[in-house]
Amino acid sequence: MGKKKFRLLASAVITVFLFTAVLAGCGANDQTAGSDTSVQSNSSGAQTTVQTSAQTAEKIKLKYFGVRNIPDQEGLVTQMLEEKFNFDIEIMGAPDDQVKTKLNLLLASGDMPDILPVWNIENVRKSGVASFGEDKLKEYMPGIYSYINSVSTNIGRDTSVVWNTCTDEKGVINQIPQTWETGMNPRPVIWRKDMLDVLGKQVPTTIQEMADVFKAYKEKWPDKYPIAGGGKDCLWQCFSEVLYSCGVDNFSWNIINNKIVNGAIQPEVKEVIGILRDWVKAGYISPTWITMTDAEKVNEWNNGNSICINWMNVTFTEPPYEVNSAVDNCAKLNPNATFALGATPVLHEGVKPYSFGWNTFTGTIGFGKHLENEPEKLKRFMEFTDALYSDPELNMLINGGVQDQHWKVNADGMFERMPGASTDDELKVLNIGYYNQNVPANGEYYKSILMSKRLSDLRNEWYTGKLSKDNIKWGFDPVNWGTLTNSNGEDLYKLYKTAFDKKRDEVFASIVSGEKPLDEFDNLVKYYNENGGADMDEAANRLYLKLYVK
C-alpha cells in the first residue's frame, strides 16, 4: 500500500473513531445530574441515608442560593447554622443582574439549589420549585405563614388572593412571598429649611407655593437649580415631587373611579408635564436633567444645590440623623444646613397627590423541585427557613451576627454593628447578611430592632397624618409587574406595552425638555388608543380583579 493511501486510510479510521466518540458522548445518560442531592452527599463522603422519622436528623447537604453579596464559603454564620441544623451548606449565588441567567442554567442542567429566590423568573416559577401546599406551609413554616397573612391584611389584600399568586398550575402553593414593608410607605419631600428661611418661605404645600419658592431661589442663586432629576437612570422617578401632585402616576396603572387605567394618558398628567416644561424654560430645572444619572441627582442635593428631594421614608430632620439618609448625607457636606419634611404639594384642592409604593410582595422564595421526591429534606429546609425568620437568636445571627460580639443595642435602642463586623467585606467573611435574603422582610426581630422608638414614633405621626397610607392604594404595582395577556393568551407586553412605554418615555422627555410642544401628549393618547390600548386596559382590569378581589 502506498504511503498516500496509508495516510488516507489512517485519517478515515481516526475520523470514524472521533465521530463515534462524539455520538457516544451525546447519547450517554447523565448519571451525575445534580437534582439528586444525595448523590452529591455521596461525593463529599457524608452519610446519605435520609431517615423518615422527623426526630432523626442525619447530616444532609443544603445548596443555598443567595444574591448580591456572595460570601466566603466558611464564614462563622454558616458554621453555626451547619452545627445547629446538622447541614453541610454549600453556598451558591450570582450578582443581581445575572440571577435569572444562572437560575435558568441550573434549571436546565438539573442542578437546582435547595433554597433559592424565585424573583418572578417564569421558568423557575413554573418548573423549578417544589409544590408543598398550604398544609405543609402551616405545619413547617408557621411563623412565616402567619406573617404573610398579617401583612396582606394590613395592606387590604385578601390572604387567599396573596397565596394564589404563589401557586403552581394546579393551584398548589409552591413559593413564599418575599416582602418589603417599608416600600409601601408614602414618600416625603425633604426641604432645606435654611434655604427656605433665606428666601423667606415656608415648606410649600401646593404647586403654586413650590413655584414661588423656586422663583425666589433663582433670584437669589441664579447659577444653581432648585430641583434635580435623574432622567438618565430613573425617568419614572424624575420630579415625582411635582408629578404626583396631580394624583395620577404617569408611569403606571392607576385606579380611577374603580377602574384600572393607564396613568400615562390621563389628562391630569398632561397638565403637570406642562408645568415641568414651564419650569425648565424658567430655569428651575437644569436643561441637562435628561442626561443626569440618579447618583448625580442625589449629589446635587448632597452638595447643597437642590432645595428639595423626594426620599424613600420619613426620616429625622433633627440630629442625630438616620445614618445614610438624604438628610444625613447632605448634612455631612453642609454642616449649617437645616431640614424640614413635607408632603407632595397639592395641584388642585380636593385632589390627593399620588403616593408611590413598591409592591409589598416583591418576589418569592422557593425550594428546589427535586425536593418533591425527598419530603424529609423538604421538611427540614422549610423548618430551617422558618427558624431563620422566627427564632430571635437565629434571626439576629443571620442579620447581625452574635450579640455583643458583632452587634449591640445602642443607647437609642437601635441595632448597631460593632467594629470587625461593619464593613461589607467584614460581613462577607462572616457570612452576615447572606441568609436573610431568602427570609421575608429579613425576619421579625431584626426589623423590630432596626428602628428606634424615636424613628418609629416619627413615622407613625407622618404616616397617619400628612402622608396617609390611603393615598398609596392608588398605585397598583402588582398590576404593573404582572403579566398582561389578552383573551388569546398573547403577551400584551410584547405586542403593545413595551413599544408604548418607550413612546411614553420619549414624549415625556421631549415635552419637558421643550423639544416638542405640549400637544404632543395628545398624539401619545391617540397612539395608545390605536395600538392595543383597549386590550391593555381590559387585561389590566382582569389582572386587578384576580389579584385583589376574591
Binding site: 485519517s11 441567567t101 444562572k102 447618583a295 449629589n299 445614610n324 461593619s422 461589607d424
Partner: protein, 298 residues
C-alpha cells in the same frame, strides 16, 4: 542632494499633522478625562464639564477599590488564568494550525471546514455548562481556561502564516533527518514569533476582560476574577448613592464624602485597562507585523 519639498507637499503635511493630531486627541482625550476624574475631588468629579486637569489630587476612589477584600485574590486568579490560558491557546493553536497548513494532509478541506463550522455554530450556554459540569471542572480554573482555549479564528490566522513560510526550509530540514515535531519546534516556531505574539495578545486581553464565564462556572468564592470584582464595586457604589437601601452596604461616614460613583467608575476603568496597556508596548513590533502576515493566503 536633498530634494526640496514643494509648497503642496508642505501644505499637505501640515494638514495631515493637524488632522492626525486631532484624531489622536479624540482617542486619547476620553481616557485622559477618565484618568483625571479618577483622581479628582467629589465636587470636581460631579461637575458636568470637561476634566482637563485637577487642582486637588484625591486618591480615595482607588483606596475604596483596593480596600475591597477580594481585589488581591482577583488579580491573582486573573493573572494566573491569563498566563495558563494563553499558554494553552498558543500550544493547541500551533499544533492544529501546523498540520492544516500542509497541503498533503488527507481530508484537509474537511478538517478545515469543520473548524470553520465552529465559528458560526455553537452548542449554546446550557450544553457548555453541562459539559464543564460533567467533566467536574466547575469551581476550578480549568473551567476558565479550557473552554475557550482553541479558537478557530486564531488557528486560521496561524495556519495562513505557516503557509506563507517557504517550503524549502522544511524540505532541507527533512533531508537532514528532522521529523515533523522537530521542524515545528525548531524551525517553524522561531519564525512564528509575530503571529504568536498577536494571538497571545488577543488571548491575554480576552482572559483579562472575561467575567461571564466566572459567573457561570464558578459557584464558590474561592476563585474570582478582576472584572467581576470591579463590576461589583461599581454597582455597589452606584446603589449606595442612589438611596436604594441595602442592609449590607454600610459605608463608613467619612467614605461617603471622599469619592463619588463617577470617580469610582473612572478609577475602575484605570485599574482594569492600565495593566493591559503596559503589555502592549512590548508586543507592539510583533503585533503590527503579525496581524497582517496572518492575512496572506498561502
Amino acid at each position: 542632494m536633498i530634494k526640496k519639498r514643494s509648497a503642496g507637499e508642505r501644505i499637505f503635511d501640515f494638514g495631515n499633522i493637524i488632522f492626525m493630531g486631532l484624531f489622536c486627541i479624540s482617542i486619547i482625550f476620553p481616557f485622559w478625562q477618565q484618568m483625571i476624574m479618577s483622581i479628582s475631588t467629589p465636587e470636581e468629579a460631579m461637575k458636568n464639564s470637561l476634566h482637563l486637569y485637577t487642582t486637588n489630587i484625591n486618591l480615595k476612589s482607588y483606596l475604596r477599590i483596593f480596600q475591597t477584600g477580594q481585589i488581591a485574590k482577583a488579580y491573582f486568579w486573573t493573572i494566573l488564568r491569563s498566563i495558563i490560558g494563553t499558554f494553552i491557546t498558543l500550544i493547541t493553536s500551533l499544533m492544529l494550525a501546523y498540520p492544516l497548513s500542509k497541503k498533503y494532509l488527507p481530508l484537509r478541506n474537511f478538517w478545515t471546514g469543520l473548524l470553520v463550522f465552529t465559528m458560526f455554530f455553537g452548542g449554546g450556554l446550557i450544553p457548555s455548562y453541562l459539559l464543564i459540569r460533567n467533566l467536574q471542572m466547575i469551581d476550578t480554573i480549568w473551567a476558565l481556561v479550557l473552554p475557550g482555549a482553541l479558537g478557530a479564528f486564531n488557528v486560521i490566522i496561524i495556519r495562513n502564516f505557516f503557509m506563507s513560510l517557504p517550503v524549502s526550509m522544511e524540505e532541507s530540514a527533512r533531508i537532514d533527518g528532522a521529523g515533523e515535531f522537530r521542524i515545528l519546534l525548531q524551525i517553524i516556531m522561531p519564525l512564528s514569533l509575530p503571529v504568536m505574539a498577536t494571538v497571545g495578545l488577543w488571548s491575554i486581553v480576552g482572559h483579562w476582560n472575561s467575567w461571564f464565564d466566572a459567573i457561570i462556572y464558578i459557584t464558590s468564592n474561592k476563585i474570582t476574577v478582576i472584572q467581576l470584582v470591579l463590576r461589583k464595586v461599581l454597582l455597589e457604589n452606584q446603589m449606595g448613592f442612589s438611596g436604594i437601601n441595602s442592609l449590607m452596604l454600610d459605608m463608613q461616614d467619612e467614605q461617603a464624602r471622599e469619592f463619588t460613583p463617577e470617580s469610582v467608575k473612572a478609577a475602575i476603568l484605570m485599574i482594569s485597562t492600565l495593566p493591559i496597556l503596559c503589555i502592549y508596548p512590548f508586543l507592539q513590533k510583533y503585533f503590527v507585523k503579525g496581524i497582517m502576515i496572518g492575512s496572506l493566503k498561502g
